[in-house]
Amino acid sequence: MPEFLADPSVLTKEKLKSELIANNVSLPGGEQRKDVYVQLYLQHLTARNAPAALAQPDFSSDEEREPTPLGARSRGGAAPGRKATKKTDKPRLEEKDDLDVTELSNEDLQEQLVKYGVTPGPILATTRKIYEKKLQKLKEQGPELGSSTPLPTVSSSAENTKQNGNNDSDQYSDNEEDPKVEFRLEKREPLKAKTKTPVTLKQRRVVEHNQQVVNRVPGNFKHAAPTLSISEFSDLPRRTPKKPLMTAEVVEKTPAEERRVERDILKEMFPYEVSTPTGISASCRRPIKGAAGRPIELSDFRMEESFSSKYVSKYVPSADDKPEKRITKKRSIPMWIKILLFVVVSVFLFVVYQSMETNQGNPFSKYLGVSDTDIPTD
C-alpha cells in the first residue's frame, strides 16, 4: 500500500491529478488551480493514509475553504503550501507569513519588496520567481545591514558590494528608473553568481595579490569592498570586462576612482594592451588604406583589404604608428603597378572608343599626322 503524502503541495499539479485519477477520485472539469487538486488529494488520499485522520479532512476542509476566497487572488503554488502546513506549523506561521517567500501572493510579494525600497515591475508567473529570490536576499541582508561590512567570504562579496551601495544610499536603485534598474540588476545577479565560484577559487591568490596592489595603490582602498571588487576586476579575464564594470556601476562608492585605479592595475598587468573605455581592444589590423590622407593603393581593390580598411578606419588613432611604418616600406612597390594599370586602362579605353567609331577609316590616321579628320560627335 503506498503511503500518501501529508503535504501534497510538494507535488506538481500533474502529479496530483494523476494520483487522484489513479485512486478513482473524480476530478473537476477543466483546468483547475493547484490548490483545488491539493484539497482533493488531502481529502481523499491523506485520509486513507491514516484512518485516524478521517476527522481531519472535514476539519481541514472547513479551514481550507475559508481562506480560499482570500487565496483566490494568488496563483499556483502560493496558497496550497499555506493550507497544507497550517495544520502542523501553526505557531511558526503566526509569526510571519513571509518567512517563506513562495507562500506570498503576488500582491503581498509586491508589498514586501516595496518595504525594502524596491519598486518591482508586474509580478506575473514569469517574473515571480525572480522577485521571490530578490526578497529572500533582501531579507538576509536586512538584519545584517545594521552592522559593518567586513566581508568575511568572497562568495558574499558580490552581495556586499550591493550592501555597501545600500549603506551609502538607502536604495541601490534609483527611484525614478526602478523597473529598468531592477531588471538590469536581476541580470547582473546571475552573472555575479557565475563569477562567484571562480572568484572564490582564486580568493587566496587574490588576497596575496591585493596586498601587493594595495600597498602600491594610494590609500583610498583601505575598505575591503573596493579591493575585493578590484580583485574581481583584475582576476576575471580581460575578455569579459563588461561584468566587473557592470558591478562597478552598482557600487556607488567612488566608481570613478575605482576605475582609474583599476586601469592603473590593469596597465601594470597588461602593459601591451591598448587602453580603451570599455576595455575591449581590437587586435591590430592591416594598415589602413585610403584613410587619413594615405594614398589608396592597388591592393585596396581586393575584397579583404576593402573590408579591413572600412573596419580599421575607426581605430585610426590607436593604429596610427604601425601602419605608417608599413606603408612607407610598401610605397615603392605599388607605384609602378599603378602607372602600368593606368596605361593599360587608357589603352583599353582608346580601343573601345575606336570600336564605337562608325566612320572608320584608318583608326590611327588621327595620330599619324592627319589632323582634323572626322571626329565622332556622339
Binding site: 509586491q110 518591482p120 515591475g121 508586474p122 509580478i123 506575473l124 514569469t126 523597473p179
Partner: protein
Amino acid sequence: MVTRTQKFKAFVSEPMGDKDVTAVDGINDELGLKLATKGFDKAYILLGQFLLLKKDHAVFQRWLKGSYGASPSQAQQCASCLMDWCYAFL
C-alpha cells in the same frame, strides 16, 4: 481603412521612451490606473507583456480583458497600437 485616433498616431510616431501606460491608444485613465497598481505603470512594460505573448493580438487582448477588465475595443486598440509601434521601431 480604420481611422486612427490622435493618440494612436502620437504614440506610433516616435519611440515610446518613458511614456506612461496611459499614452497607449485604448488605455484610458481608469485602465491605466489598474495597470499601474499591478506594476504596468510605463508603456514599455505593457510592451514587454505584448512581446512576451509573441505579439499575438488575440492572446494579448484576452489577457488585457481577463486580468484588467478592459473592454474589447480598448484591448483591440491597445493591441494594434503596440503592434504598429513594433513595426515601426522594433
